[in-house]
Symmetry: C2
Subunit: 200 residues, 2 copies
């Protein structure tokens, strides 16, 4: 309660306004890419002052990463279907294929920009990779507790690498966007066997 009040006082931005602003940032990102995106353009598009944007988010990298994170509606750790296979399938089924294709293009663009933007790389690690690692760790811990995965299974530390690898290499190697059908086959063929989970 105290935290909510203090955030409101600091920001004077309603959750609706914040969501609207993040949506505009993602639209701009799709239109011009990270490098060409300016805080001026965000300010103009959202009818905000640049001062407000900087005060609220600190900078372009933080704003973009917050906007990306906001577009994830469900937190990975909240997915709990009762089996690891069910959880991983659910994780890649949160978006329909069309949304996944749009987001895959967006993430590719951002991953590329990270290559030469240190502040974006740091913000991405803090706001996206670390929370996602934490979420996957919880999903895995429940699988270990259920006896599905051995606690000393060496693939445990590579779960996020496997999941992101399937997502990222689909476009790179097959020139096709990742789809639910591709990702669920990949999970069944690669991720679960690597973790020692029986799939048939």
């Amino acid at each position: 309660m105290t935290e909510a009040v203090s955030t409101a006082r600091r920001s004077r931005i309603t959750p609706e306004r914040e969501a609207e602003l993040y949506e505009a940032v993602l639209d701009l990102l799709r239109e011009v890419g990270y490098d060409a995106l300016t805080m001026d353009a965000v300010a103009a598009r959202t009818r905000s002052s640049k001062a407000t944007l900087y005060r609220q988010w600190g900078g372009k990298a933080q704003l973009v990463v917050k906007a990306l994170r906001h577009s994830k509606r469900v937190r990975t750790e909240d997915i709990d279907t009762g089996s690891l296979r069910g959880d991983l399938h659910a994780i890649v089924s949160l978006e329909d294929d069309c949304t996944m294709e749009r987001n895959s293009a967006l993430m590719r663009g951002v991953a590329m920009a990270m290559h030469h933007n240190d502040d974006l790389r740091v913000a991405f690690r803090d706001q996206m990779v670390d929370p996602e690692m934490g979420g996957f760790r919880q999903v895995l811990q429940r699988a270990v507790d259920r006896g599905e995965v051995r606690p000393d299974c060496p693939a445990i530390e590579f779960l996020l690498h496997m999941m992101v690898g399937g997502f990222a290499t689909r476009a790179l190697l097959d020139d096709q966007p990742p789809t639910r059908a591709f990702l669920t086959s990949y999970i069944d063929a690669v991720v679960l066997p690597a973790l020692g989970v029986q799939t048939d």
Copy 2:
């Protein structure tokens, strides 16, 4: 023989000169990136005429991809240690960690440029992905013939995704270049178990 003669006649470029030219292209690529690389710069750096470059390679995308491919000294299909584990470890041990870090940065830059350059994407698929897929298929076929991998193992079609995924996500998720130590652990923890190969 006939092919070698006709290539020589068409190109009038010796293998030494070709290697020197590819090296210069990779240097330029590291210095300025794909988008800023011009055929003028390649011509100046290598003291060639632009006409020769275009006649020989057709264009920037083809020249860059040929240069990348040329930097691979050993073909994947020629690696044959007698076991799949030996072959995969050998594949990630062709370069020392320092060279691998340099090449990883280079490949990230090219992967990034593929995002918005259709001709680069097509050249990359034809000259890099397809031959590499073929090479891995031969390595796997020998493992199947030795009885190490079941011919109907569903992970077979994802071998390149797994290998490239490990390589690419290391930088993205851990902000560290891929090293031999990382890739061999990843192969032992993920790739071989997914293919049903016993590692202990």
